[in-house]
Amino acid sequence: MEILISQLFAGLSLGSVLLLAAVGLSLTFGQMGVINMAHGEFIMAGAYTAFTVQQILGSAGVSLLVSLPLAFLVGGLLGLILEATLLRRMYHRPLDTLLVTFGVSLILQQLARDIFGAPSVDVRLPELLSGPVMIFGTPVPASRVFILALTVVVVAGLSLLMSRTSLGRRIRAVVQSRELAEASGISSRRTDALTFFVGSGLAGVAGVAITLIGSTSPTLGTTYIVDAFLVVVAGGIGQIRGAVIAAAGLGLLQVFFEFGTTASIAKVIVLVIVVAFLQIRPQGIVATRTRGLA
């Protein structure tokens, strides 16, 4: 029983990390149809923001609290610059955006190497998150519980933003019909920029969370970008609900297959399952009609 709870939690924990990495993509790729390969580097920028803040402030607890909003701003601003300088000219040209953003991701990795060096760096955990906490009598790392809680807050916040706020309505209207939105007096260009800011900002927040469970290096983003796309595509493009189910499913499958095999074999099995699933249901778990698919 203890093993089952431990495995279940490990799966959900992995799923929450994947979801946190993917939730920004569900906006920029899912809603806007932009294939942003530099999303992983926005995650990396968030992680280095946490590292830098800790270097300046010293206290691990305070720096974590400061890092979360600051990393959102850093990721958001990077996204805003990318959207305004390059992507704005390439909507409806997905292959071009893929190539250009791949190039940008390489530039950002090199920039990180130049600033922080090639070796990985570590962000110290706050004392509160250092030890285990007991869940149903099973010890689980407190940092993982924190990430799970942060993911719940981020996803709930994003859902509220999309369903209850003026910006959310504008984003959904532009996604549904750019032409009708423009002809209703809604600036689609401004809405695109704001959407990209929020989506990229969430990548920054994911970066801070990831520093709690591992080292930070210039190639951190490449570890997560494929899985993040996998979550968005398997969940159903543009669907936050689908991304939640897909992330939890992928996390649990990975951990359960890992139990009897190795991490690499488990990864292969999960990929095969996702490919087979997408053959049967190409639209993903939850289907929608977005600008990218229209």
Binding site: R172, A173, E182, A183, S184, G185, I186
Partner: protein, 230 residues
């Protein structure tokens, strides 16, 4: 006065409008008649700034608006009711109205007045627009346009695909609106009867050119039908 001066426009490499000259006076209803493929929708999309002008210019009250984007023109007082009762289908009726009202100063204050004009929408506020009937979606489309506080309302075949009783109701609302609030109306239609009953002036569009225009009096019905038959 809203004016087209030698406007050429189209899609990609295909030119659809071949030098349109058209004036929409400051009051009343101006209707553009034409068969399918004559260029009516292209004309209205060019009015709205949804299609680029290749040559010629568009002015409104003397101001050149040829290069303004669609949302900038809407902010100036243009409003569009698209063909086919288009709405933001995954948004509810309430969200369809709110998203437009929030984008315009005074939009929320206009909401009650618009719902008075289309009371049926008040009972459908929480229903997704994609689930509304054609007539209901058309009412929603006009309501959305009115929330922007327009000076010139541009309607693209509002009678298309709608049952006759609703067409009559929509026509009455359009004419009433034009006479009460002094809103200019530019209407594209292929149903001559409906269009000329509502209109003060008309123009006939054929293969991207204005082939006849004038006052929408009794003689206009025959003149327009004759021009359309050519």
């Amino acid at each position: 006065m809203f004016s087209f001066e030698g406007v050429r426009s189209g899609y990609g490499r295909t030119e659809v409008l071949h030098g349109i000259d058209l004036e929409v006076p400051d009051d009343g209803v101006t209707t553009v008649l034409g068969h399918n493929g004559a260029g009516k929708t292209t004309l209205l999309k060019t009015v709205m700034g949804l299609l680029p002008v290749r040559s010629g210019r568009i002015t409104w009250d003397g101001e050149d608006i040829t290069r303004l984007s669609a949302h900038q023109r809407v902010r100036m007082g243009l409003a569009w009711v698209p063909q086919g009762q288009k709405s933001f289908g995954s948004l509810t009726t309430r969200e369809n109205l709110l998203v437009v009202a929030e984008a315009h100063p005074g939009g929320k204050e206009r909401l009650d007045g618009v719902l008075d004009l289309f009371p049926a929408l008040g009972e459908l506020m929480d229903r997704r627009a994609g689930l509304l009937s054609g007539g209901q979606r058309q009412q929603l489309s006009i309501a959305r346009a009115l929330l922007t506080g327009p000076r010139l309302l541009v309607l693209d075949e509002p009678s298309e695909g709608i049952q006759p009783s609703v067409v009559q109701e929509i026509e009455e609302k359009i004419v009433g609106l034009a006479s009460r609030s002094g809103t200019q109306v530019l209407l594209a239609e292929q149903k001559v009867g409906f269009a000329l009953e509502a209109a003060d002036r008309y123009a006939v569009l054929a293969t991207g050119r204005i082939v006849r225009s004038g006052l929408a009096d009794e003689a206009a019905v025959d003149a327009a039908r004759e021009a359309l038959a050519v």
